[in-house]
Amino acid sequence: MKIQQIADIEKAGCKHQETLYVPEVLTINTGMASCGIAAGADKTFKRATQEFEHDRNIRLRSTGCLGFCEMEPLVEIYRKNGPRIIYKKATEDKIRDIVDGYRENVFDKKLVLGQMRDPRSLLDQDVPNPLLNVEPAPGVPFLEDIPFYDRQVKIALRNCGYIDPEKIEEYMARGGYKAFLSALKRNAPQEIIAAIKESGLRGRGGGGFPTGVKWESCAAHQGERYIICNADEGDPGAYMDRSILEGDPHTIIEGMLIAGLAIGSREGFIYVRNEYPLAVKRLVTAIRQATEYGLLGQHIAGSDFSFEMKISTGAGAFVCGESTALMASLEGEVGRPRAKYVHTVEKGFRQGPSNLNNVETYANVPVILAKGARWFANLGTDHSKGTKVFSLVGKIKNTGLVEVPMGTSLRNIIFDIGGGIPGKKAFKAVQTGGPSGGCIPEAYLDLGVDFNELAKVGSIMGSGGMIVMDQDTCMVDVARYFLDFLKEESCGQCNPCREGIKRMLEILTRVCEGDGREGDIDLLQELGDMVRKFSLCGLGTSAPNPVLTTIKYFREEYEAHIRDKKCPAGVCKPLFHYEISEDACTGCTLCARKCPQEAITGEKKEPHVLDQEKCIKCGICYDVCKFGAVVIA
């Protein structure tokens, strides 16, 4: 069927609304994004297939990621007139018990994460809430009330974990492609651009450039225009784009179609990391399905608008997240940035006007058109509208993807949603913005996250990685880590970046190895200032951020490394050693048994002793000791 009218979308989606909300048979959704699969979701799915293959009253579906990665594999069970229950850590051995429990209306607290109050997305509110008159499961908390979810507002992630990403009809059933088709029927590109401008949407890839302004200037330039999606999520510690690509690929296609319509383009490219094979696979499927429905191709829905879409896979180069480098890479070249005297909206890919936005940016676009620019602009802060997805990772209890309104404080995100630091350890810093960002100390935890506020403390929003660090993280080592990353990833064509980062890394390396000298901190700041001012592209100009912010907020750690030759966090091997505290050691013998070097000796129930000569500082004893008896000295 080729889609011609809005009614066609409703027709295509209609049958699937039943599957999504009121299925006659017991329906089991398994979250099968890469993170879920790595946690064992594929095994759960396989086991469920074997167990229930002949049960005609059960339907198995695979969906994307619901975001609460710490609790994966996540499995959701529902049926018409029954509650919708999300089960946590649903490994293969538990699936039988889970299903039996649901059928018998018994909900084991150890297995249940919560139940849903309303499974609809914000784009299909015309459908009645299927759970409105359903008796809730007794004693099971509502998902919307548990701390991980209660502050979240899902716009970009609205479909992730709900729909089968390989079924375009389910995307349609949740209001998908209607925003695009309505815009196509109105045929008023100026209106779209005006709406995106009014919404205040800023680029979610890191820079935060106003999206509507970018679209407008691209549309104003003559030539064959291109729409490009940056899905080369290179920031280590950020994976929100992967989740959207894997869980809701059609939202990106719809966002790009709208951009194509607004800007007047006939061709779109998605530049996606080769490290995300599942995302590539689901995009390929999504593009094929959209083409079959006539939403991509020639004369879409009988109009004059034609749009083709291609996928191009990157090959592992962080610098390709930079717009000019990405476009060079799309052309099959080495991904080296160029000076932007002429912007890519004028001359970019194939020398044509090119509009490049990030995955999350495109995912917001259909919602802005459907709900209205004002609605979107009402969310967030003065400078930053809408929501932002963060990947909350590192030393945090509830790792996962969270989407919160701009302006939510770091403290809310880390301690309320994230549940704080595991294992009674103390919070030290949160790193935002990846290698281009900075480390923010406890003093600024009440900062509301938006583009401007983060810039004020020397960091950036970046693509949304939020890496939490505790007392066991060495800030000097973190700075060294990022510079090591950037040294590898610098394309090497401009001196300040290529040489500057290398020299800064040399200094940091000697500081971490115990050979730091007086004056090294000043030298790092001076070099950092030079690299920031004179590098050619964003990679270089932001590269010193991790070093400069750690010096600013954790200077005493640098001084401890340089003057006292100590690494207080116990990370830099030459600058610390482990000791066993005689008072705290209970003589449980665990450390002695786990030590690969047989460096620990002692009688049972007597304090143990660590032989410094044999110790290789692998840290196993420190990790396994339940009594905090292994200490860093």
């Binding site: 890469s34 490290e275 191009s312 990157g314 090959a315 592992g316 890479s329 070249e333 996962g400």
Partner: protein
């Protein structure tokens, strides 16, 4: 390309190259278009496990760009290898989330256990150790990916069991 052919590439320096299949792939899948160079190289690496020099020379002629430029692209992007790689590819994630959770120690332990440096292949051709920057499974860090299998929340003591699953040989080397 079948598995046994891949293996033979490792054991013998010069792999058997099927130029007909190469022609077909470059023409049908990639339209003989040099703009698709990166994806063509990915397909070649998927077939041979690395980028054999004769294939690149042939490709240069075929899509009409100098071999030097192909070499430039192949060495710029970290995915590509110009040397034969092992039967099993170990990718250890050194992304930030994994780093703060101790990926460095895990890397050290793999290097010590297999007697191989990061980026190199074991002498018996069983394993190639390649660090990567984030595979997007940050919630499970530290993460190690062996071929297509992802292992999360790895402690440095879990490794031997996992490695044993892929090859027995590293044990013998230890003795």
């Amino acid at each position: 390309m079948k598995m046994n052919e891949t293996q033979s590439t490792i054991n013998n320096a010069a792999p058997a190259i099927d130029y007909l299949a190469l022609d077909k792939m470059v023409e049908e899948k990639f339209g003989n278009d040099k703009e698709n160079l990166i994806m063509i190289l990915q397909a070649i690496q998927a077939a041979y496990n690395y980028l054999p020099q004769p294939v690149l020379a042939y490709l240069a002629e075929k899509i009409g760009i100098p071999l030097s430029r192909i070499y430039g692209v192949a060495t710029f992007y970290s995915t590509f290898s110009l040397e034969p790689r092992g039967k099993n590819i170990i990718n250890i994630c050194l992304g930030t989330a994994c780093h703060v959770r101790g990926a460095g120690k895990v890397l050290q332990r793999i290097e010590d256990t297999l007697h191989v440096d990061n980026g190199k292949t074991t002498e018996d051709g069983q394993f190639t150790l390649e660090s990567v920057r984030c595979i997007g499974c940050c919630s499970l860090g530290p993460v190690v990916k062996i071929n297509e299998d992802v292992y999360g929340r790895i402690g440095s003591e879990d490794l031997d069991k996992i490695l044993d699953h892929y090859g027995e040989s590293h044990r013998e080397q230890d003795n």
